[in-house]
């Protein structure tokens, strides 16, 4: 019997900051101290506080060590695991109080969270099916197969109010109902999982797959029973190697236990799941393109109708849900639809996972009830903006979404509210921007992404987004006119209305929402030829204040273009023709004599 468990985060964030080496050091150090029989090392999924990685938690005390280094391991093992003395120096400082260490659940980051989809992430070892079962795993599948009819299952999901977490927000139960009833005599139906998470800055689905892969398998089997399918496919991007590996292990273990395969729990229900790896095309996150890709064809969307519920994968009735949507299903079955519907707002039930990124202290993964305000997420859970800067806007929904400006920080986040202010829930990427971000530049960044990722099948998206990008580029170079802004806006509406799939239909959103809230910044670029945030290089001019310059020569030595000249102890001058506007001089100047305007 192990008296203590040491959990190390094995998610992508902590793995990239070296958690694998820490795990190795920990195992060998524990062995050296003769604690092998007493202390178990468990590699888990993401804890959420990625900014503090690599992360390690020691139970039963629940001590939270952050930014652990390999060199710290001998001290932690000898002091904490052997002698029971917490190494306070290495503990997440927010948990350190005058009366000892407080629980992680009481920190600002975790206190306001409510983990449903992420409930097992950072708690169980995702490569051990027994740990999932120990947390009540596969009980929901057992319940539906032995106690519920397929119609009961669908009604429960409908009553729960669960809506698709991939971004669209379509009621999940409705999707299942259509797939069950629309074609009566189908010889085969399919259950697909969209794990092709492609929005820049989004990593919610990756964390669920890495931290709790069995929940997706269990939910897909439940969906298969509900709609009458025996085969499922998970379409996951190849850029998620850890997620792919853990899914493979999970599928293998589930098959060995007979939780996938023929006659599950001795009933006449059979279900199996195959993995399909995406090759990195953003458009394959669109449902029809995704299914085309599973079929072995080039990932391009096709017109709807027919909708997948009628003619989907291999022309058979198909449902396609996102990873996070599935992660809610077993809990809804076990706890009932009323439990789920008690969380959230009137039309958006349950919780939502957000990947917090950008200009924020606690970069990471948070799950909050629908209806939580952006202010709570950013200021309380996220810990606010670093360096005392001012919040400007948050971008949700990636390249398909828009920005939420400071004036809307107090509206409750749910599907309908976000659409009403010109953004969208999206899959849950939340990028925080401060006063140093130029909104025209942000719009240009997303358009550049869309131009790259447009599959090229339809003209409005293929050519329209390219023209939009060119106009934005012209504006950021200071060559735009007010007429360009109007044309840009007109083109946005044209692309929205005429594109074939969701990629094109939503591609103009970043431009439309920045135009809506930050039109003055566009105008400043065009009329004043200035970038108010100081980002667009072509509109910047670097100058040395002769009053402040001491002539130390440091700037002229770091300038890669040789644009700065001047004698020692006399004020220096920047040659504006040679200047690359890289900012190296500003960083080095000790006297604050160089400014960009």
């Amino acid at each position: 019997m192990y008296r203590s468990h040491v959990l190390i985060c094995g998610g992508t964030g902590c793995t990239s900051s070296g958690s694998a080496a820490i795990e190795k050091a920990l195992v060998s150090e524990i062995e050296k101290n003769g604690l092998k029989e007493e202390v178990q090392v468990v590699k888990t999924g993401c804890f959420g506080l990625c900014a503090l990685g690599p992360i390690m938690i020691v139970y039963p005390e629940g001590t939270f060590y952050s930014m652990v280094k390999v060199e710290d391991i001998p001290e932690i093992v000898e002091e904490h695991l052997l002698k029971g003395r917490v190494v306070t120096r290495l503990v997440y400082q927010e948990t350190v109080t005058d009366n000892g260490i407080k629980s992680l659940q009481d920190t600002a980051f975790y206190k306001k969270q409510n983990r449903v989809a992420l409930r097992n992430c950072g708690v169980i070892n995702p490569e051990n099916i027994d740990e999932y079962i120990g947390e009540g795993g596969y009980q929901a599948l057992a319940k539906v197969l032995t106690e519920m009819s397929p119609d009961d299952v669908i009604q429960t999901i409908l009553d729960s109010g669960l809506r698709g977490r991939g971004g669209g927000g379509f009621p999940t139960g409705m999707k299942w109902k259509l797939a069950r009833n629309i074609v009566k005599d189908a010889d085969q139906k399919y259950v697909c999982c969209n794990a092709d998470e492609g929005d820049p800055g989004a990593f919610m689905d990756r964390s669920v797959l890495e931290g709790d892969p069995h929940v997706v398998l269990e939910a897909m089997a439940i969906a298969g029973y509900a709609i009458g399918a025996t085969q499922g496919y998970i379409y996951v991007r190849a850029e998620y190697p850890i997620a792919v590996e853990r899914l493979e292990i999970a599928i293998k273990q589930a098959r060995e236990y007979g939780l996938l395969g023929n006659n599950i729990f001795g009933t006449d229900f059979s279900f199996d799941i195959g993995l399909r790896l995406g090759a990195g095309a953003f458009v394959c996150g669109e449902e029809t393109a995704l299914m085309t890709s599973i079929e072995g064809n080039r990932g391009e969307p096709r017109p709807r109708p027919p909708f997948p519920a009628e003619k989907g994968l291999f022309q058979k009735p198909t449902i396609l849900n996102n990873v996070e949507t599935y992660a809610n299903i077993p809990q809804i079955i076990l706890n009932g639809s009323d439990w789920f519907a008690s969380m959230g707002t009137e039309k958006s039930k349950g919780t939502k996972v957000f990947a917090l990124g950008g200009k924020i202290h606690n970069t990471g993964l948070v799950e909050v009830p629908m209806g939580t305000t952006l202010r709570t997420v950013i200021e309380e859970i996220g810990g606010g903006i670093p360096n005392g800067k001012k919040f400007k806007a948050a971008q949700t929904g990636g390249p398909s979404g828009g920005c939420i400006p400071a004036e809307h920080m107090d509206i409750p986040i749910d599907y309908d509210n976000l659409i009403s202010i010109g953004s969208m829930m999206g899959s849950g990427g939340l990028i925080v921007m401060d006063e140093d971000n130029c909104m025209v530049d942000i719009a240009k960044f997303f358009l550049e992404f869309t131009v790259d990722e447009s599959c090229g099948k339809c003209t409005p998206c293929r050519i329209g987004t390219k023209r939009m990008y060119e106009m934005l580029d012209k504006i950021t170079r200071g060559q735009g006119t007010l007429e360009d802004i109007d044309k840009l806006e007109e083109l946005c509406y044209y692309i929205k209305q005429n594109s074939l799939c969701g990629l094109g239909q939503t591609a103009p959103n970043p431009v439309l929402s920045t135009l809506r809230y930050f039109r003055d910044e566009y105008v400043a670029h065009v009329v004043d030829k200035k970038c108010p945030a100081g980002v667009c290089k072509h509109l910047l001019s670097f100058e040395i204040d002769p009053e402040k310059c001491k002539g130390c020569t440091l700037c002229s030595r770091v300038c890669p273009a040789g644009a700065i000249s001047g004698a020692v102890k006399t004020p220096h001058v920047i040659d504006k023709d040679k200047c690359l506007k890289c900012g190296a001089c500003i960083e080095k100047c000790k006297f604050g004599a160089i400014s960009k305007k």
């Binding site: 203590s4 007493e38 002698k83 029971g84 120990g134 009980q139």
Partner: protein, 117 residues
Amino acid sequence: MKIEELNAIRDKMKNQVTLRAEDPDSTKVLVAMGTCGIAAGARDVLTAFADGVAENNIEKVMVSQTGCIGNCQLEPIVEILEKGKDKVTYVNMNADKAKEVIEKHLIGGQVVSEYTI
């Protein structure tokens, strides 16, 4: 797999995973593991408690260590903190005494006063 087998795995794993749930209501068994405690044999006491709690399937009990309490001549020392009750301090412990404390105190609810300070 049958549902009974699934439940058997769940119950077997329950002790494992509940160790990771911080429950403020749980009873804490703290074994003093300073240098003095270790020298006096606290390690055996600690494992005896950990194994005993697991073998008897005692719920809501957490076995952990603490540092030197100051009474080094009375080591190994074990403190039991139960919610809403006074702290009980056992001294001069060994593995056999630990088993007795598990049976009488943790399961039976009776303080084994002959081993207390």
